[in-house]
Structure formats: structure tokens, C-alpha cells
Symmetry: C2
Subunit: 109 residues, 2 copies
């Protein structure tokens, strides 16, 4: 299991990536993240919805109510054009970050 301090700052990008592929709702994304990481990382519910609020306020994603099925009414999220640009920046930043941290993580001796 990956600690939250290490993953911190990457949740926005992870969520965005999933919404970039297609419109999705929260619970679905939570399950999809666990699936794709073989349960090595599970996003906590509270974090998930905090990300939605943050990104929606910034105009990076938009939401709309979808159908009700087996439980509460689903709120779907869609990425905006601003969001697409933002995600591409995040990818670039991630590549930079990897390089920088790798400088200090190379094996000693």
C-alpha cells in the first residue's frame, strides 16, 4: 500500500486521467483505481470527493446527474477543455518530478 504522503499531489492527475477517457462517476473511479493498481492504491472516499470539488471550482471538470442504479443517484464528471490542457501540464510536470527525485534515489555504492 502506498502512503498518502508519497501520492499526495497526484490525486488530481489520477482522477483527471480517468475522466479524460470518458465521463465517469465517483464510485466507479474509486473501483477503477483499485483495479488498475492491483489494489496497491485505494483512494479514500473523502479524498475523492475533495478532488471533485477542487477541480470543479477551478473549471477543470464539470458534473451532471446521471441515472440511478443500485444505490444513490450518480453524479458524472466530464473534463473541460481547460482540464485537458491542465492534464497535459500535469504529465509534463510528472516527468520532471521523476527526474529530480531519481537524482537522489539512485542506489548508493
Amino acid at each position: 500500500m502506498i502512503s498518502s504522503d508519497i501520492i499526495r499531489g497526484h490525486l488530481d492527475a489520477i482522477i483527471l486521467r480517468l475522466i479524460y477517457e470518458k465521463d465517469r462517476y465517483g464510485y466507479e473511479m474509486s473501483k477503477e483505481i483499485s483495479r488498475r493498481t492491483d489494489n496497491q492504491f485505494q483512494i479514500k472516499e473523502a479524498s475523492l470527493y475533495a478532488v471533485f470539488q477542487r477541480l470543479e471550482k477551478k473549471g477543470i471538470i464539470e458534473s451532471y446527474l446521471g441515472g440511478v442504479s443500485y444505490g444513490g443517484k450518480r453524479r458524472y464528471y466530464r473534463i473541460t477543455s481547460l482540464g485537458k490542457a491542465y492534464f497535459k501540464e500535469q504529465i509534463a510536470e510528472w516527468e520532471e518530478t521523476k527526474k529530480i527525485i531519481d537524482i537522489f534515489m539512485e542506489v548508493l555504492e
Copy 2:
């Protein structure tokens, strides 16, 4: 420049790496981080000393006062054996983290 949220959680490891190589004092490490990253990442002074306090409290590093030269008295830090083990864990965790985030950062289409 890398954002603080992205780097968050990696400061401990960066500092530890430098102390692992040899005993060092704060200001020196600050400069060394800037140098090794070509100024792409500069650790803030307050963050630096916060890391020292945290790591020393956990027994991961130890400190002693060194000579005075061109400014205040230097406080040197040395890694403990606990610290060496901790750093190796951090490396392993970083490798895992990279894999996980890369899953979501692969280029689309």
C-alpha cells in the same frame, strides 16, 4: 520549478540521501540540492529545518555542532543505522510509486 504538493513526502528522502553520503549541515544541503537539480528545485529553509527536527525525533539522524565559519555555528547531521534502513525503504517505496502513477500518466491516444 516543481510544486510543493508534488514534491511533498519526498523531502525526507532527499535530505537523507545527502546525509547518507557524508555528514552535512543545513545550508550546505540547501545549496547542494539546488546544484544537483540545476536550480529546478530549491528547498525552502523552513522546510529544511522542519525535516531535520522530524528525522532527529524519530532517531533517523543525529546532530552535533561543528565549527564556525563565515556565519553562524554549523549544526552537522549524521545518519543513524535506523536511518540507513529507513532510506532503503524509501527507495523501494519510490519505485512502487513511480509504477503506480505511471499507470495513469501514460500518454492518451
